[in-house]
């Protein structure tokens, strides 16, 4: 059974770029435009990995990570934050919220795939 990865970003460009790379590698993709939509979808249909932007309307990536960690069925779902932010204190904020990994935009497809394969092997 293929693994399902959720890409969460208010930019369709990033969602599509992530989808291209991961679908090509054999993952199934679910998309969400912000943290709120992502968490609603995850509660209805859990996924194997979440890749989320940080800055988004409604619910940001840090809030989404906290929500995922606080919800028993998704408590251990890996969350990778994909963002333009690269400051150590921001990464610490993500880690404190429960994020598993952090990728800085712009990202190389191989870099994304390496992280995803490590956290969610096919």
């Amino acid at each position: 059974m293929p693994k399902t990865v959720m890409t969460v970003d208010d930019s369709a460009t990033i969602r599509q770029n992530v989808s291209f790379v991961l679908e090509d590698a054999g993952y199934e993709i679910v998309e969400a435009v912000d943290g709120k939509e992502a968490f609603d979808k995850i509660q209805a249909n859990p996924v194997d990995l979440v890749i989320s932007d940080v800055h988004m309307p409604n619910m940001n990536g840090i809030e989404l990570t906290k929500a995922i960690r606080a919800h028993a069925p998704t408590k251990f779902t890996p969350v990778v934050l994909l963002t333009t932010e690269s400051q150590p204190e921001k990464k610490m904020e993500g880690k404190a919220a429960g994020a598993t990994g952090w990728i800085v935009k712009p990202f190389q497809p191989e870099q994304l795939l390496t992280v995803v394969k490590k956290l969610c092997p096919l």
Binding site: T13, I14, Q16, H55, T84, Q87
Partner: protein, 160 residues
Amino acid sequence: MHVMSGFIRAGVREIFSTMVGTEVVCDESKDDNFTTQMILSGVSGTVSVTGKMTGSVYINFTANLANKVAAKIMGSDSLSDSEVNDVVGELTNMVTGNLKSKMADKGFNCALSIPTVIRGQDVQINPKDAPISLQSHFKSAEFGEIFTVDCFTKLDGELK
């Protein structure tokens, strides 16, 4: 060349190489300091920053160039204006985020707004209270047209 222009130019080159798959060069002969006004024409993305650095960053493409860049990133020639806007907004977000990171390393931490995209001809921008006004001109051999990155900022402290 202003220190921030160096940050912007390096960031734009990296982002276009990684996300667009094209190499861009900066026209070093263009003066990177300008004064009180900027005219946007075509498709422009802007992100505001606030904190130890306040102001705005703009990327200004002709409509034709915006379409070409978006088509390359999205792998499709038939994109809606909304899809092209999204690409321009995301590129602006990355360029500004890259600048933010480099400025944070210099002690000027700030927060970013969500990108806004402006379409139109001869849109006049008059920044207020922006002592640092920088413009860089970029071109890729692949696309052939120039685009600009403009940065209007004020820093809370001295940039060394």
